[in-house]
């Protein structure tokens, strides 16, 4: 367990934000922590969709149950959180 600061880019938002995650978090938990600073603040919720995490600019999302420690992010790595059908 270790805290890891990341740089968040959330779909529909206008700004990158500093978010703290934990190396033990799953990608779904990362998405939740990111949504806290974005959804219902500047981005409308999309309840029929799920939120997926990917490396900034990548076209492929991480598996939802994958742990942060397995993604080998750098300190302040930039990630995208996007709305997807599943």
């Amino acid at each position: 367990m270790a805290a890891l600061p990341i740089c968040l880019n959330f779909e529909g938002d206008f700004v990158l934000q500093l978010v703290g995650v934990d190396t033990e978090d799953t990608m779904d938990q990362v998405a939740e922590k990111c949504a806290h600073h974005t959804v219902n603040r500047r981005v409308a919720p999309q309840p029929e969709k799920v939120m997926r995490v990917r490396l900034h600019g990548s076209s492929e999302s991480y598996p939802r149950d994958m742990k942060v420690s397995d993604a080998h992010w750098r300190l302040t790595e930039t990630i995208d959180v996007i709305f997807a059908d599943k």
Partner: protein, 498 residues
């Protein structure tokens, strides 16, 4: 007493030069201060400033001008305009003074460096007047807001802001440190006067002067037109330096100085002038949109000036033009959302009527920026002010020190430009910001932006309250909505989201 006519002595005195006997030329003009770049003295003696003035002329003109501005102030102080003015306009003034006044004083040291160390005699002569100008600009822009401290502590930030770690102050210092405090005389003449002041004079002073008289603020209008006439004169010191560099095989180097300065200055306008013109100035007093103003007074004017010198437009010219639809809207939304972190009260400028104007000036605004404002508006109209405030920090650029922003909503496109150097990951807001860094990594790489300071434990407690303490913002100083959310009322009973 007989006086020799001006034309008989002026050219001789403005270009006085001599051959040093007791010290070497290198000791008299150390390269790191003078920046002659190997170009011989004889070449610098050809420096020909387009604007000529004598000391007696300078003193009499300035005396008359400033006493005019001071007497307008004294008369209108009794009239208490400030108590009647729109809160958005008050915010404009408070933001302006905090960002500008102390840096004007700082600019007098940049001018003084040219006055002492420029090898061009004409530049030394001009810069003496420039140093006097900037000293006066510092004084007048500290003195005027001082009268309003009794109204709000935020006015005190005219002097305080640049002595704090407020994020906007860090951004302004990073820029001015780069272009005027830490450069040689020749680079200062190019980066401060040509790159920054030419644009800035037009942007902040011409644009604001028009808005000020529209808003009925004659004190502010007279102050800034006094300042603007000086800027228009001393901003002309860079052109002749550029001509000499270009004529002596230093074109590429000269161009780089111009390009870095223009890009960095643009970012500062985007956060300072952009929100003021398109959002803070009351709708009925807005003259041109920020974008229209930028195109007419910055883009076109620079293109002409650069072409006159035989220089191409900077490589990022198209990026800059495209950013006129994006960056300042993002800076405004960021300042508004993080309003507690600034020393002025941001005006949202997002009422139904404002949004109509924004959509007209920036087609597509409602589907992009409007989407974020929809959520904010709904939260305000549903008693959820808490959700209109942040719980973390925006990520800031390692060059501009400003939030990394992009297009939200339906046109979502926000991009991080990265660079890994010596094991550290740097984040930039644009290709051009990263390019500026890459021109001289040694110069920039040690600097810590607000996020770096947060992550290295310099901000305690490590949360937003700690950040506000770090920025020296007291409860009466931190920004709040300029109009107490009145603008959102117009959306009540309209269709709701969420």
């Amino acid at each position: 007493m007989y006086q020799i006519p001006r034309e008989e002595w002026y050219d001789l005195t403005r270009a006085v030069n001599w051959t040093p006997k007791y010290v070497t030329e290198e000791e008299l003009f150390p390269e790191e201060m003078s920046g002659a770049r190997g170009i011989p003295m004889a070449e610098w003696e050809t420096y020909d400033e387009p604007y000529k003035v004598t000391y007696p002329e300078y003193v009499s003109v300035q005396r008359e001008k400033d006493s005019g501005a001071y007497s307008v102030k004294a008369a209108l102080e009794r009239d208490a305009y400030v108590d009647r003015a729109d809160p958005g306009w008050i915010s404009t003034m408070i933001a302006h003074y905090g960002a500008i006044s102390v840096n004007e004083y700082g600019a007098s040291t940049g001018e003084a460096r040219m006055a002492r160390f420029a090898k061009a005699p004409g530049n030394r002569n001009m810069a003496i007047f420039g140093a006097l100008d900037e000293n006066r600009h510092g004084q007048i822009q500290l003195y005027f807001p001082h009268a309003n401290i009794k109204r709000s502590r935020q006015w005190d930030w005219a002097h305080k802001a640049m002595h704090t770690n407020d994020w906007a102050a860090i951004a302004a210092r990073s820029f001015f440190d780069d272009i005027m405090f830490t450069r040689d005389a020749v680079a200062v003449s190019i980066m401060l006067t040509f790159g920054f002041e030419t644009g800035f004079t037009n942007m902040q002073f011409l644009g604001l002067a028009a808005d000020a008289s529209n808003a009925g603020d004659h004190t502010f209008a007279s102050l800034i037109s006094s300042v603007q006439t000086d800027e228009a004169r001393h901003a002309q010191q860079g052109g002749p330096s550029l001509k000499i560099l270009i004529a002596n095989g230093k074109k590429e180097e000269a161009k780089k100085l111009v390009d870095v300065s223009i890009w960095r200055a643009w970012k500062l306008f985007s956060v300072l002038t952009g929100p003021i013109m398109d959002y803070y100035t009351p709708l009925e007093h807005r003259e041109q949109s920020f974008k229209e103003f930028m195109v007419e007074w910055i883009i076109i004017q620079f293109e002409r000036q650069l072409a006159d010198l035989g220089l191409d437009a900077p490589w990022f010219w198209e990026d800059l033009t495209n950013d006129l639809d994006i960056t300042h809207h993002g800076m405004h939304l960021g300042v508004y959302f993080w309003r507690k972190t600034v020393w002025w009260n941001p005006a949202a400028g997002a009422s139904p009527e404002d949004r109509e104007w924004l959509e007209e000036k920036y087609p597509g605004w409602n589907k992009t920026w409007g989407k974020c404002w929809d959520v904010i508006t709904d939260n305000l109209n549903n008693d959820r002010e808490d959700l209109t405030l942040p719980e973390t920090l925006p990520y800031v650029c390692n060059m501009s020190q400003l939030p990394i922003v992009g297009m939200p909503g339906d046109g979502w496109e926000v991009k991080d430009y990265q660079l890994e150097l010596d094991g550290r990951l740097y984040h930039f807001a644009s290709e051009a910001d990263r390019w500026c860094f890459e021109q001289d990594p040694e110069r920039y790489k040690q600097h810590q932006n607000l996020i770096d300071r947060f992550l290295t434990g310099q901000i305690q407690p490590a949360d937003l309250s700690g950040a506000l303490l770090y920025m020296s913002l007291g409860p009466e100083e931190m920004g709040k909505d300029a109009h107490d959310y009145e603008w959102a009322e117009g959306f009540k009973n309209k269709n709701k989201v969420g």
